[in-house]
Symmetry: C2
Subunit: 292 residues, 2 copies
Amino acid sequence: MNIGIIGGGSIGLLFAYYLSDQYDVTLYTNTKNQSDEILQNGIYLIHNETVNSRRVKTKWFEHWSGKEDLTIVAVKQYHLENLINLLVEKQTKNTEYVFLQNGMGHLKLLKYLHANTIYVSSVEHGAYKKSSFEVEHNGIGQTKLALYQGEISLPPSLLTIPNFPIILEDDYFEMLVRKLVANAIINPLTGLLKVQNGEIIRNKNYFSIVKNLFREIEAVLKLERGDRYFQQVIEICQKTSGNRSSMLKDLEANRPTEVDAILGYILDEAEMNNIDAPICKTLYHFIKGSEK
Amino acid sequence: MNIGIIGGGSIGLLFAYYLSDQYDVTLYTNTKNQSDEILQNGIYLIHNETVNSRRVKTKWFEHWSGKEDLTIVAVKQYHLENLINLLVEKQTKNTEYVFLQNGMGHLKLLKYLHANTIYVSSVEHGAYKKSSFEVEHNGIGQTKLALYQGEISLPPSLLTIPNFPIILEDDYFEMLVRKLVANAIINPLTGLLKVQNGEIIRNKNYFSIVKNLFREIEAVLKLERGDRYFQQVIEICQKTSGNRSSMLKDLEANRPTEVDAILGYILDEAEMNNIDAPICKTLYHFIKGSEK
């Protein structure tokens, strides 16, 4: 199987490294500079202080034409709107798509694609892009994939890659909502407070905010059996206790955050349904105001 | 006139320095160590990079007996509960009191005092305690005094001290509410965001929070003609644009903050009146959780 991966951020590099062991992978990067550096060096994967490298085909995104069997889109949500137009323009074959974005804001864009089969996902890896060709895999999680439209025809070998588990989920909507709820609580709070994930459940005052924020989100998204979602948030905080969330990292690196795809989506839902969400709104403005 | 000042923090040192020019002032400190150091050095006042010093009588608080004509209580709100008991125990004469605390939480304690005359105040100076006997006066503001009970008998000379204006207000309640509203907005937001006062009105996302938070406080405190209060908050942010709020300084110095006297008071009022105050509550928990 040929796989094209669009986006040379931490997640794009991670997927390119792991998938290139068994598949014919081409990584499409936003800058020619990055693709040159990867051609020269390969991709370096740093895990537990050991470094491994792999040669990976890579091209500047200009050369993408969707000719691979599978196209994995690994750009941030806030770059997706522009990218979708380019995909529609440049695509020459009917490739299958996997979208790796956080939040749920990207769903409304998918209808513009020419595609029979689209997967969406929930990526639960910790990864840090150390340079244009080096990625640290500092939290081995899993990638959940669910069909958004079309029929599943993924090779079984995709589900058995060492240190890189990919599992299939039945219900894309529930999968994304679960991730959204966790992201909407953990990301803004840790980003604003500049603390590790575990701190927001350890500190009893922060945990009060977690609970009140969850109740608000539960009402907006009309979650059924909300306690399952709440329990999941706590479990993620426990499991990733020492991790720094992507929003915290983005803020500290003066990068834009994904708050629009996360709290922005919830606030849109709240407005459509005429529900007050004062805590979500306050957190949204805290994060937007803190972006450089 | 004899004046006793209780508390050797930045505000206690500031009042002791300025008032000792014309009055017989005794500063009562919490530790014997501090009173020894002030006896040895005097109080140093640093203003615009010039340093002046004054000899001031000072005693360990153990020796206080309320024998001065006027007693100025300059301890933080959160030390007041214990202190009031000591004042009642140790007081031997009928001194008049001035309370310098922020917020409105202290009002409920005043009924326990043996006092005919009590003033409350709104202190609008910027001061920083550099050491046990050195205080920086980095923002010359004013001290508003208002009678809480009794009759006014302050000497007119008290109202004409250079660089240390003291003015009398008619309505203690409105005076404290104005200060409370400003404190409840400026202190928690700047403390949490670690920004100067001006930033919360300059940054349009932070300013959205300011507006929503104000509407919440306006409802809880049942403010009439709320726009006056809101305008005042903006003016303070403009005038003290480059200042760092006391709550920000407290958090950075790992000191307890006055959030209980400020947002805590508003949350108590909200609960008594059965009004939701989700933004106040969230900010309260952010600040309490950030205290070391």
